[in-house]
Amino acid sequence: MTTAQIDRPILLSVRNLKKYFPVRRGLLQRVVGYVKAVDDISFDIYEGEALGLVGESGCGKTTTGRAILQLQPATAGTVLLEGQELTRLRGEALRRIRPKMQIIFQNPYSSLNPRMTIGRALIEPMTVHGVARGKAAEERASELMSLVGLNPYFVNRFPSEFSGGQRQRIGIARALSLNPQFIVCDEPISSLDVSIQSQIVNLLKRLQRDLKLTYLFISHDLSMVRFVCDRTAVMYLGKIVELGESDAVNRRPLHPYTQALLAAAPVADPDLEATRTRIVLEGDVPSPLNPPAGCHFSTRCPRVMDVCRRVEPPFKEVEPGHQVACHLY
């Protein structure tokens, strides 16, 4: 799988992406600093691949997804989708490229318009982009419903008549309505009940296989990302600290932060919990308004060295296909 992956063409290419939010204070709303939500990240996503983006809240993973889709303008950097540069597109040109890339949201409640029937929510984008109209659009809406495991008979219902899991299926159907190639899945299961999560994960995986979709799968759950994604990128304070094959990242994590993240994730097995080595990180994530000098992780790293507090480690390949930003390697 490793080599097959590399042979595939690149669908999405992110270079030196930055997203800073200005912090304003005072009566005159003067800019007093920047929250560096995404701070110079680069990666490629291959066609048909699922790339996992893992990190804790506030690490910038959600902003990365939004900036790639041009839902929030990037501060700097480039995003190439099939060779086309997205960050300079505006207005109508941007609107016309939107069918290629879609998003699935975390919260299935706020992501559906409560006053719009499911059918209309599915048909509207199709009519707007001329994918299908009238009867054909209705038929396609029914097909989409079946595709995500919902009864097509429900098209005339409102979101309030569905459970959280069903709503998430509707959100997925809507994202598929324009035949996208690339989908950002922004924590698509984390607000669902445990017994529903696996249903949605199975659905996302099946759709990816059948429709040859490419995913950026954003999550805080490393074990779920390993199961869903071919490769995994780990983010900490606006930077990607490690990127590699999911199995490699899970079995042989290189970055001390990845190691800590894996160790902290609870495992549903008391014997294992009692015996496995634990790395408990001290303290909190520093504020992205004022990140530590050198390596951002240096304030919490159990293996911190002098150099880490002064020099930012470069992001380099230490094993084939396995990159890490750490002075240890």
């Binding site: 804790e56 809240s57 459970s163 959280g164 899991g165 069903q166 009940d193 445990v194 017994s195 529903i196 999560q197 696996s198 249903q199 994960v201 199975n202 995986k205 805080h220 074990s223 779920m224 390993r226 199961f227 869903v228 071919d230 999911s246 899970n250 079995r251 042989r252 994590p253 190691q259 800590a260 993240l261 894996l262 160790a263 902290a264 994730a265 609870p266 495992v267 549903a268 097995d269 008391p270 014997d271 294992l272 919990e273 496995r276 080595t277 634990r278 790395i279 408990v280 990180l281 909190d284 994530v285």
Partner: protein, 354 residues
């Protein structure tokens, strides 16, 4: 009470909940939130209560201290005998508000998912803890302040003396939860009820809090009820587990048993729907069919039957009681033997090589 217990007073549990029943009377109908649950909690035990949203796991625990909104909620029946060691066990549900206030905070403390809702935003942390100490222990002034610093450093807040005069918003989510825990343990309660205290926190912070509670429990010997939807946290922390579904306890077991030999289809389904580190990526993840039930219109018989892979005719009409499997393990399933056999055949879970 002691008469039923062959071992005598030594074994009087700290908390003995019997047939607790709670319902919410809403305009859409009666929500059967807790449907007659019974369990015991020993001194110094850590009990995990696991369930999904709406399973009644929080309501059943908060109802013990009348911390649920009445109305629309109403406790329809049951007893909750609490033995604080100073006399005969008293029924929490029959206590007058006055008496219950004496138990709340002093004997039984609660921490919540969102510490911000239980902390006063315009009062310094120090004053809030000192007030709790004054109200519950009758210590005032300098003594209370000294004790506040003590408990704050005890829960791992660095430079506790300096942070005493900070306001809640000056703390991070994890630190706020530590403050809540400090406040809860300041009066050395016999029982700590933790209502999803780590759900809103990141995994690395969650690990810190779980370890903290574990350490405090070992040092102080208090009992803990830890309410969560995450079986992983339970595995790390609890001695025993109650699994709840649709307002009933469906399985009750010591921690090792629940993971080694789950005997209710719901428990088995939950355990299997978490991807194991060795699960091949092209495999399908096990899942539970359907969605949690509408609590106003609970399914007949066993409430889990519409989603159950082990369902037979009988499950549609007869609600299974908690059937004993051995001395400490019971499951509310007519066909638990089949489930147990199936779970025994499952490959033993393996953790990541860290």
């Amino acid at each position: 009470m002691t008469l039923n217990s062959p071992q005598g007073k030594q074994n009087t549990p700290l908390l003995d909940v019997q047939d607790l029943e709670v319902a919410f009377f809403t305009k859409d109908g009666v929500v059967a939130a807790v449907n007659g649950i019974s369990y015991r909690l020993g001194h110094g035990d850590i009990l995990g209560i696991v369930g999904e949203s709406g399973s009644g796991k929080s309501v059943s625990s908060l109802a013990l201290l009348r911390l649920i909104p009445e109305p629309p909620a109403r406790i329809l029946g049951g007893r909750a005998l609490f033995a604080d060691g100073t006399g005969a066990p008293r029924d929490l549900l029959k206590m007058a508000p006055e008496e219950l206030r004496g138990v709340r905070g002093r004997q039984i403390a609660v921490i919540f998912q969102d510490p911000m809702t239980s902390l006063n935003p315009v009062m310094t942390i120090g004053n809030q803890i000192a007030e709790a100490i004054r109200v519950n222990l009758g210590q005032g002034g300098r003594a209370a302040r000294k004790r506040a610093i003590e408990v704050l450093s005890h829960v791992g807040i660095p430079r506790a003396a300096e942070r005493l005069d900070d306001y809640p918003h000056q703390f991070s989510g994890g630190m706020r939860q530590r403050v809540m825990i400090a406040m809860a343990i300041s009066c050395e309660p016999k029982l700590l009820i933790a209502d999803e205290p780590t759900t809103a926190l990141d995994v690395t912070i969650q690990a810190q809090i779980v370890d903290l509670v574990k350490r405090l429990q070992a040092e102080m010997g208090m009992a803990v009820i830890w309410i969560t939807h995450d079986l992983g946290v339970i595995a790390r922390l609890a001695h025993r587990v109650n699994v709840m579904y649709a307002g009933s306890i469906v399985e009750m077991a010591p921690i090792r048993e629940i993971f080694r030999a789950p005997s209710h289809p719901y428990t088995l389904g939950l355990l299997n729907s978490v991807p194991r580190p060795d699960l091949p990526r092209d495999a399908e993840l096990a899942y539970i069919e359907g969605a949690p039930p509408d609590m106003v219109r609970l399914p007949s018989g066993c409430a889990f039957h519409p989603r159950c892979a082990y369902r037979r005719e009988r499950c549609l009409s007869e609600k299974p009681p908690l059937l004993p499997i051995d001395a400490e393990h019971s499951a509310a399933c007519w066909y638990w033997e089949e489930v147990r056999a199936a779970s025994a055949r499952a490959t033993p879970p393996q953790g990541p090589a860290t």
